[in-house]
Symmetry: C2
Subunit: 450 residues, 2 copies
Amino acid sequence: MTSTKKDTVIIVGAGLCGTLLAIRLAQRGYGVELYERRSDMRKGMIDGGRSINLALSARGLMALDLVGIKEEILKECIPMHGRMIHNMDGSTRLSPYSGREEDYINSVSRSGLNIALLHKADEFDHLNIYFDAKCTQVDLKEGTAHFETPQGPKVAKGEVVIGTDGAGSAVRGSLMRKTPQLLFNYSQNFLRSGYKELAIPPGENGSHRIEKNALHIWPRGKFMMIALPNLDGSFTVTLFHPYEGEAGFNTLNSKEGLLSFFNKYYADSLEHMPELWEDYQDNPVGSLGTIKCYPWQAYGKTLIMGDASHAIVPFYGQGMNASFEDVRVFDKILDQNEGNWNQIFYDFQEVRYQNTNAIADLAIDNFYEMQDKVDDPPFIKKRMLEMQLEDQYNDYYSKYSLVTFRPELPYAEAMKKGRMQDAFLLEKCEEVESVEDLNLEEVYKELKKL
Amino acid sequence: MTSTKKDTVIIVGAGLCGTLLAIRLAQRGYGVELYERRSDMRKGMIDGGRSINLALSARGLMALDLVGIKEEILKECIPMHGRMIHNMDGSTRLSPYSGREEDYINSVSRSGLNIALLHKADEFDHLNIYFDAKCTQVDLKEGTAHFETPQGPKVAKGEVVIGTDGAGSAVRGSLMRKTPQLLFNYSQNFLRSGYKELAIPPGENGSHRIEKNALHIWPRGKFMMIALPNLDGSFTVTLFHPYEGEAGFNTLNSKEGLLSFFNKYYADSLEHMPELWEDYQDNPVGSLGTIKCYPWQAYGKTLIMGDASHAIVPFYGQGMNASFEDVRVFDKILDQNEGNWNQIFYDFQEVRYQNTNAIADLAIDNFYEMQDKVDDPPFIKKRMLEMQLEDQYNDYYSKYSLVTFRPELPYAEAMKKGRMQDAFLLEKCEEVESVEDLNLEEVYKELKKL
């Protein structure tokens, strides 16, 4: 690592991805000018004070390790060793992520993580952060970004501009406005379900009212509820429901209706959610969209990464992890081509877009899998077989485990291998009445040959 | 048909689709206010005087027939009975579209057709056309559209607004700005090839220098040239080339380079194109994009159709035909639900988007088929077999024929049936050395069973 001051990089967006990138570039000796549309979240709560949490897993941790902040962050995390399935009758069942003790994911506060990264970024003299600066446009060939600030318009000039400004990216907007020149491919696709955040408050003395070290799921076919633990004893709860129909957000619009719905489908949660109706009323319904685009870079001067280039739905718990992985992959490509931004941006885009397309597709698959397959007998058998395999054979990884616990494996390869395994195991399960009828060792050996 | 004056419909875009729709709605007794961004093309040439032509086929004709203008238009068309394939060595071979005499497509001047429609539209007192009015925005729930005109801003208020303003649709832009509310899915995808128009001027006394009644193709694997006849004896020639590489538009940037390239690949055309270099320099490179979106309507008040909702690449010759078919399908749905715009818009969208998605995909397939399959032995055998089948059996239709000559069959069904036939025939061809080894009658009988 060099300490010489190199080119200045303008980064648009000081969220999770942008701040991590800023730190890494500062560590490498680049001048970094980091701009953020919102106010400094360290000076006040965002999201109306709600605790939003995310699942941090191996890919994200590997990137945090790169900048030396992994251990510090892990202290603020709650390990989740498996899924706690809540049945309609109130019974629960813990489904571990794998048989390997080291395979767990971590519940972390989104704003807590962002704040920790901002503090880390403050350590560098040659990294400046500007808040309340809304990007209006990027001059793609110039390394120049334009902002609206409370003090009036501002222009930032660097060697290159990198947009990490999220799903609604203004930098991507500038690429899109040059569609004919760049042949800019773009798609936005929404699921016909949305989400709404609720909460389970802490128990007595900050204890957790339900199992702390698990990701809780109430799977109900066409809709579901999940809950992730927070350090203060609370849980952040998310409803994933369609807009219309019995479970539709538009249908559940009265206190009586909502409570009766919860009584029917999520009965065991009711006692833990005294503010259910108030939370339901106060919190908006968010949409679940996937954004893909190509190219990610223009003229070797402008690049987008993170959600700006690949926003995905949350059903694989990989959105943040994929964005952090962007930074790790970018850093690796910097090693190979330092000094040649054109090559760096191009290589990054070419290596990365196939992998983020893969995780985007996997996340959508998982939405339908959770909705439609949860009661499907061959699928249940397959999942049982898979758990036995993971339990018995330390080197067997299910599709979920390949994605979640094998950070060295690119998403596209994890998808390919995982889908091949799934097809094979489903076929095996269709041949027998019960999973017990299968010879586990033979199945394992056949899998290894695939 | 009623002569009562009904609701007023605002139509944005007086191109081929919008003008046809305006005529049909006026015939049904609606008040129609038709707005067009460009000037009245009847008062001056557009496209710098270039003749642009299109292939008008059964689906388009069926829609023109609906408004009673088919025979008039056919008089301005040149029938093309098949593809004239130009080989590298200058030899040619006519590949008929089918064995049925009635199966031909028609070369028609784009501006000539548009002008004929505008004249027809002028016949209605309750149909007003406004040129030089650029749509800036639509109030989706209001039936209101805003325009910039040389006289200043103008607001048009009707019962509903229908956007037929092409691939760059401003009305679609208004839907897109309401993405979160409408969960607006959108994609734009470009081929890594573009196109450029050239010309073969008329021969002596307005004669055609090459076969008049054919669509000429110079297929060359990764690129190709086509030519369609015009009434004045000229041909409109289109190059479909990649941007980069030997045949790339960016590579062919000198007179010497271009002429030597033509000498190698399109030698037999050179003598007919005395202005080749001048045309090549003067005419821009256009991009080849596919646009899909959903929903097409909002609040039962705003609808998009034609290229505004489904822009496709030209490799099936169906862009204009699909847009005209939109009008025919819309008219049918009006019959069923007249008076209930909400139902009409919704039904139209639901019936139609699957079919336009199908033709969009078929058109892209055909681009790759023309590029990659033209020299592929099983594919050549399949095409030979297919031609024998169409020649021998009057009720056998290839995929191309299903799409082009069976207007009563929705695109999605034509695609499904055509792809099934293709897979079957390719399999048959792989079993034998030569197509002669197959029993045509048996193949035909098996096909009927599919």
